[in-house]
Amino acid sequence: MAKITNHLFTDDKKRRQWARARILSSSAKLISTKPISDIKVEDVAAHSEMSRASFYKCFRSVEDFLNASAKKSSAELLKPINSVGSTISDIALRTATKTRIGIRMMTSVPLLGRLMLKTEWPFGDARHKGYRDIQNDIAAGIAQGYFTDMPVEIGVNLVISALRVGVQDALNSNHTEGYETEIVYTLLLSLGVDSKRADEISKIPFDQLPALPKNGLVGKIVSLVS
């Protein structure tokens, strides 16, 4: 005979998942209404039409909620980034191109970029698929002799630093023509690519920017601003 489980527990869990999804999907509209740093629990509750208590059942704080939204959107960007990245066999060029696409995508919609900078790092979640993708590229680059023989995390941190700096500076428009080229060049140098090759790669004209996803959280953010 099937074991009888208390339906109250399963319902509770399902309801929490449903509430979490609902609150997360309301975040797109919410962040377009006011500066991210001014968002209060009341705003999140009002936008998702949930109570404060429901919010606190799913998230510890507004920062926790923003971090979850940022993680969800960055996961959605991985598919288009990888669709271009996986066609490139030269690992140095692949890392450079993926970093570029990442910066471009996140800054093409400033709202998205500001949200992304809310992702916790390095205290955050090392199981995030984006993190693992970078890890794999760096490990392959080290194995194939493109990069210095170093602990993989060091390389991952360099890539993430380059991404974050790129997004931050583009959003605050300290952004000159060729800024991205300089970031990519410095990143490659720091990974151990020699300066001649780094210069060549960073100057390759770049025109393969894939389209931003049309659905999911990112899709919602894009549709709000366009």
Binding site: P122, M150, G192
Partner: protein
């Protein structure tokens, strides 16, 4: 005649400072156990053993307490490290020693490291940056032609990002002692130094860690270590 000063003013001021320090210290202590975004006012007043009213008298929210603590720590810690490094004449050498001492201090006093790596980064807010000494040395190095010509923000943030990532790995995974040098090596070649120069710079023995003062927030940290 000596002006008579009401002692009550002095006593009240020192009490206020003591209360603020103790609230900040509670946040610092809690941040080692959970993410700073998961800490609420209840946790802090329980840890500090003060009333809710006392908390709200000084800070409107935990969100406001975070930058106050960061600012205070950055101020006290950079002063200690700067006292040791300001007399090193060579910019590159000073940069390396500053970076090493910062990394080691944060790794030795885990409570400091665990909090500081959770701060939002990169940020426009330079006030609560423990890495200001390092950033100014990079700017100077670029001007002096020691490092490749690049926007200072790229160089600073690539190094600071490596340091934050490096500290996080040292705190959580206790890697080999050469890890620190490996992190710095990649960052230095990223700044445009050649491999030999970077190696030599890292081989110069660095001075001993600063002894934490007995006063201020660092005093409380030091008391905890003993």
């Amino acid at each position: 005649m000596l002006k008579i000063q009401d002692h009550r003013i002095r006593v009240a001021a020192s009490r206020r400072e003591e209360m603020q320090n103790s609230l900040m210290f509670s946040l610092l202590a809690l941040a080692s156990e959970v993410s700073i975004h998961e800490i609420d006012v209840d946790d802090i007043i329980k840890h500090a053993e003060v009333s809710r009213g006392s908390f709200y008298k000084y800070f409107p929210s935990v969100q406001a307490l975070i930058p106050a603590l960061a600012n205070q720590l950055a101020h006290e810690l950079t002063a200690e490290i700067d006292a040791i490094t300001h007399q090193i004449p060579s910019t590159a050498n000073r940069l390396v020693v500053n970076a090493k001492l910062t990394m080691r201090s944060l790794a030795k006093h885990k409570i400091l490291g665990n909090f500081l790596i959770q701060l939002p980064w990169p940020t426009q807010n330079t006030e609560f940056n423990v890495f200001t000494n390092i950033s100014s040395d990079i700017e100077l190095g670029i001007k002096e032609g020691l490092f490749a010509k690049m926007p200072a923000s790229i160089g600073c943030n690539l190094l600071v990002g490596s340091l934050i990532g490096g500290i996080s790995v040292i705190l959580n995974k206790s890697p080999s002692t050469s890890y620190e040098n490996k992190v710095l090596y990649q960052a230095l070649i990223g700044l445009g130094l050649d491999a030999k120069t970077a190696d030599e710079l890292l081989k110069i023995p660095s001075p001993a860690l600063p002894v934490l003062p007995t006063t201020g927030l660092l005093g409380k940290v030091a008391a905890l270590d003993n």
